[in-house]
């Protein structure tokens, strides 16, 4: 079943065609990678899918609903969560609080409840803490819960972004270069986490430059080059695609 469908998506910034005429779809339960050289339009694609800005042309469907021009917070409430290439951790909050924000759409306390936290509000609050701690345990940050988010080393801040994103209980998770800046043991942990999430039924699209990891974990790849979709297929197909080799892998001397 199709979870996400992108049709003829185009985004131009001034004269730059960051994404042009890209179509692809992702099925439930898949792990799909979007790869391509620097500036290929991968992050722009994620930004379009999460409503950061509207596309110049084209459409995005999620669960058969047109989400093309929805604002970011509405897209999130439909069940798409993401992490960022440049860390966007809430530095002014603790690790636990960061993840608790991830529970925002799964909880209901309004301003009145916030001002006067009666019993139901407190019950909800402890549920938020409980499930947030669960996500921290899953990402190996359980013992950092009370620390200030910006005191964590880089790799753990990246994990924190994942914990925060999955706290939302998304159907679709977008990871923008999750392995960038991680050492090899952290990358192993990341791969394990991604498998765990997939087993929990979360569909994952990731942008990644680490080819070894990408080829190992993905079911399918979409290759972008200068905003265009160059190829799409299984890791095997992509590794043997002459166009991809010359345009992208060839560039890195492979």
């Amino acid at each position: 079943m199709k979870l996400l469908e992108v049709t003829q998506l185009t985004k131009t910034f001034g004269g730059v065609h960051a994404v042009s005429d890209v179509s692809f779809s992702v099925s439930k339960g898949e792990i799909v990678a979007v790869i391509g050289p620097n500036g290929a339009g991968k992050t722009t694609l994620f930004n379009l899918m999460t409503g950061v800005y509207p596309p110049t042309q084209g459409n995005i469907y999620f669960n058969d609903t047109d989400i093309t021009c929805l604002p970011t917070h509405k897209v999130a409430s439909l069940g798409i969560a993401r992490t960022f290439q440049n860390l966007q951790v809430f530095n002014n909050m603790t690790v636990l609080e960061n993840v608790m924000v991830g529970r925002h759409i799964r909880s209901r306390t309004g301003l009145l409840g916030a001002v006067f936290p009666l019993w139901p509000v407190q019950v909800e609050e402890s549920k938020i803490v409980e499930s947030s701690l669960e996500k921290l345990a899953l990402t190996g940050l359980a013992d950092k819960a009370m620390e200030q988010a910006n005191s964590l080393p880089y790799g753990q801040q990246k994990m924190l972004e994942i914990a925060r994103a999955i706290a939302l209980e998304p159907e679709l998770l977008l990871l923008d270069e999750p392995a960038a800046g991680l050492n090899s043991s952290e990358t192993r942990d990341l791969v394990d986490i991604i498998y765990t999430l997939r087993d929990q039924g979360i569909t994952i699209i990731l942008v990644e430059h680490d080819m070894e990891t990408v080829m190992e974990i993905t079911d399918r790849l979409v290759v972008l080059n200068f905003g265009n979709k160059l190829a799409e297929g299984t890791p095997y197909e992509i590794q043997n695609n002459q166009e991809v080799i010359t345009a992208y892998l060839g560039e890195e001397g492979l």
Binding site: F84, F90, L96, V101, P117
Partner: protein, 337 residues
């Protein structure tokens, strides 16, 4: 989990201690003037607590909060003196009405960012001030409400002196603090702080940033309105002058001096600025005999600049850090034989 509980207990203990101090003070202070300064500090604290929620937690500035303060004061003043409405009902009406007005004007204003937002709130403040000056039939114009505003009373107890009013004001100020503290540690408070941390990420987690900013703006307006109502019943006479731009700036300075992201900041900032303003009133004519009211704005300007440069987190945070540093050094000194 344990740490969380410990933190919460510590917060509660601090509030309790502070409450004790606040309510023994009036028995120790016999000078009426000092008592009245403390009452004013209490009233201002209520406004600034709300403003801190807006500035420190939602990351938005308002240069028009004196207008909400004025709306509360005038609603109470007019309803009780001209229409004989019960003071408590009038206070409630003012709070609800001001909250709604803030929400409505917030809708267009919050489309703006940073200094444009600041200018828009400033403009709103000026408009309200002009209305208070010009709607002579309703407000009495520049000379103020002519009929006397009644004192507040609780049952048969009429709060007709500083001592009695002190307790009401500080009970409400503490309540304001506790409720604000609730907000900060709630789903809404986290959403607000997340906007401050990264608006981009907050939205990606489903936080409707615009809506939450608007709500807090309205809440802070309600705080200001309640404070204004208290002011009206304390002084029992109101004119437009205390509800102008100068007061709005004063509130912002108080919030910034106290430090925006702590619930203790407001009390501290308000105290420092109010006491300073009172002493300036006394000493300025001695220093510069020909100085008018304008020196105040100069002093506020200087304070703002100095605080922003040397203590961007506000006075409270700076003092806490200094204390922690001192304690750390002391512990280290004890360790080394």
């Amino acid at each position: 989990m344990k740490d969380l509980l410990k933190q919460k207990r510590l917060r509660h203990a601090l509030i309790l201690l502070f409450t004790l101090i606040i309510f023994t003070l009036p028995f120790l202070i016999t000078n009426n003037y000092y008592l009245s300064v403390l009452v004013i500090i209490g009233i201002h604290t209520i406004v600034v607590v709300g403003l801190c929620l807006l500035m420190g937690y939602a990351g938005q500035i308002s240069l028009g909060h004196a207008a909400f303060y004025g709306l509360g004061a005038y609603t109470s003043g007019i309803l009780t003196s001209t229409y004989n409405v019960s003071p408590w009902l009038a206070l409630l009406a003012g709070a609800v009405g001001t909250g709604i007005i803030a929400y409505l004007i917030g809708i267009p204003i919050f489309r703006l960012k940073e200094h444009y937002l600041a200018l828009a709130t400033l403009g709103f403040g000026l408009i309200i001030h002009v209305i208070l000056m010009e709607e002579v039939e309703l407000t009495g114009g520049p000379s103020g409400l002519s009929k006397g505003i009644p004192y507040l009373s609780i049952g048969s107890l009429v709060l007709n002196n500083d001592f009695k009013f002190y307790f009401l004001v500080w009970i409400l100020a503490l309540l304001a603090l506790i409720l604000a503290n609730n907000v900060v540690h709630s789903r809404i408070g986290r959403a607000l702080r997340s906007i401050h941390g990264s608006e981009f990420a907050a939205q990606s987690l489903g936080v409707d940033t615009g809506r939450h900013k608007l709500q807090v703006f309205a809440l802070s307006a309600v705080y200001a309105s309640v404070a204004g109502s208290l002011y009206a019943h304390y002084i029992t006479f109101i004119s437009p002058s205390p509800f102008g731009l100068m007061t709005s700036i004063q509130f912002v300075v108080m919030a910034v001096v106290g430090g925006l992201a702590s619930i203790w900041g407001p009390i501290f900032g308000v105290s420092v600025i109010t006491i300073m303003a009172e002493s300036l009133k006394e000493f300025m004519p001695l220093l510069i005999p020909q100085a008018g009211g304008e020196y105040e704005i100069v002093v506020y300007g200087i304070i703002l600049v100095v605080i922003m440069i040397f203590m961007p987190d506000g006075l409270t945070a700076t003092l806490v850090k200094a204390y922690e540093g001192w304690r750390y050094r002391k512990e280290r000194a004890n360790e080394t034989p």
